[in-house]
């Protein structure tokens, strides 16, 4: 029981981080990015690849893969998604277009990743056992959790305390109103999309230290991140953290008590409950 709580808690840290990345992309840049999980897989692949070929620590990989992913995602937004944003007459039309375009990107990334590394990416990093309040787990999970929390906290403070963070939040509330008060909406959107991608890739590096991944598993992470974002309420950081905690705990409980093959079904069950009872998110207010 205690084991479930501890490992569920440690898992939820990374989930919360990835969901924050997606939240920036969907809540601010208004792009439903279904290639999010594939960006995560790219981060994981880079980490695996550097570690197995030249023994680069994933923590070092993290430091340079995050800005690299920022640049890549900025380019994606600038050259592939901006035309769609301009073309879209309504938010609905943009959603359909961005969903289809990001599907395309996700398949292209899967195709590339699988041709680089067709098998599993697994490596042993910081596998020392440690004991937390009487439950034994491995050090890599704890390290991943701490780093995820640190990045998440930094993001939270930046969003709430800095001037540019306020601009990002303003765009997430209303693109039109933000434009009226002199915020460069296209620039902030591109920045938020790129930042979201950078955070997702960082999450991928962290996850790869303790979970075995393969090239085609990205969609599972996309789904989990989406479920967390919806459960927490779009644009709600606090809600996303609570939702990630719930998902991490439920998933770990189902995996240990029933069957590891049913974690996705558990996530779906929660998704259905949220859709039926709290579609506006855990702390959201019902739209009128």
């Amino acid at each position: 029981m205690l084991d479930i709580v501890v490992s569920g808690l440690l898992l939820s840290g990374t989930y919360a981080l990835v969901a924050m990345g997606l939240n920036l992309q969907y809540g601010v840049a208004r792009i439903m990015n279904l290639a999010n999980g594939e960006i995560l897989i790219l981060g994981a692949l880079a980490s695996f690849w550097f570690y197995t070929t030249s023994q680069v620590s994933p923590l070092l990989t993290l430091v340079f893969i995050t800005p690299a992913s920022f640049v890549v995602n900025w380019l994606i937004y600038r050259f592939l998604l901006t035309p769609l944003v301009r073309r879209a007459k309504t938010q609905g039309a943009l959603e359909v277009d961005s969903i289809l375009a990001t599907f395309g990107m996700s398949f292209i990334i899967i195709g590339i990743v699988v041709s680089i590394e067709g098998g599993f990416f697994a490596y042993n990093f910081l596998l020392d056992p440690i004991s937390i309040i009487g439950s034994t787990t491995s050090l890599n999970r704890l390290v991943a959790f701490v780093i995820a929390c640190a990045i998440g906290l930094a993001l939270y403070l930046w969003l709430n305390l800095s001037r540019s963070g306020v601009a990002v939040r303003a765009v997430s509330v209303s693109t039109e109103a933000a434009g009226l008060v002199g915020i460069n909406v296209p620039r902030v959107s591109a920045f938020a999309f790129a930042l979201g991608g950078a955070i997702t890739a960082a999450g991928g590096v962290l996850i790869s230290t303790f979970i075995t991944l393969d090239g085609s598993i990205g969609v599972v992470f996309t789904l989990k991140a989406l479920i967390i974002v919806i459960m927490g309420g779009v644009g709600d950081v606090r809600g996303a953290i609570v939702a990630a905690l719930i998902l991490g705990l439920v998933e770990t409980a189902v995996a240990t008590l029933i069957d590891p093959g049913l974690t996705l079904a558990a996530a779906y069950l929660m998704f259905i409950l949220v859709l039926l009872f709290r579609p506006e998110g855990l702390f959201g207010r019902r739209a009128t």
């Binding site: 609905g92 277009d97 969903i99 289809l100 599907f103 395309g104 292209i108 195709g111 699988v114 093959g261």
Partner: protein, 310 residues
Amino acid sequence: MKPAGMSELVWAAVLVFVAAFLPWMVNGYWLSIGVTAMMYIALSTSWVMFSGPTHYISLATGAFFGVGGYLVGAGMSDYQQSFWLMAVIAPIVGAILAALIGFATLRLSGVYFVIFTLGLAEMIRNVVSWVQNNFLGSRGLYVLTDFRDQHIYWMLLAVAAVVYLLGWFISRSRIGFALRIIGGDETVARHVGINTATAKVILFTTTGFFAALVGAIIAPRWSYIEPNQVFSPQLSFLVVIMALLGGAGRLWGPLVGVIPFTILWEWVAIQFPNQSTLFLGLCFLLIVYALPHGMVGRIEELRARMRRGA
């Protein structure tokens, strides 16, 4: 009744009649491609019936298709039922499942629906494998019938014709009109008194019914059924691509997309077996950036331009 609508129906009847002769005209290889194409025609036409007017992208086809195929396998192998009985039960189960999913997701915005259907096939596959491993024991199911490719082909052709006819009626009925308004602007639809959720759920249920039926009919082709094989998530995406490539704005749009794409896909699978996912991705990008209204949209655009020029 507008004459244009009637002539469309006459054309469809002629096409079905001609298509029925395919098994006598071609060899086994092309017939097997014909079966695949006919399967996708039925699936993507029923997809367009719902997703065309509403712009809700459904990725649930694979899930319903898998349920249909799996039920036939389980019914025939584990419970010694006849194929025909299972082919009746499967679409009903598919329809019930679709209605439940529609009820949970279609009252909300389209994004929730897409996300929900995205992992649906995978989730059902996980649950089915779990049930099978823990409670049923056996892993594979046998579907042994006397059907040959041409029989499956004719059954699929019949289904495709029925789907088309139904779609034709729906697009001329009150509910079809309601769906187009929903697709145009959902708030407007609600304000003019359309029960948007009910209209969407009814149409989505129809899609689930036909996808499960197609899955059931295809099952004898494999003869050995495994959850990993019938619940292929790729199928849902292929259906979306073919429907959009042809054009989702017209009921006959998918027909234009399916036939060239099936042949192309077959070729890619043989020539570049490892690059098929990459190819799928490129197709999506091609549709979004170059053919937003599909080939049908392009054709109609050209026609309009020629008329203006003449």
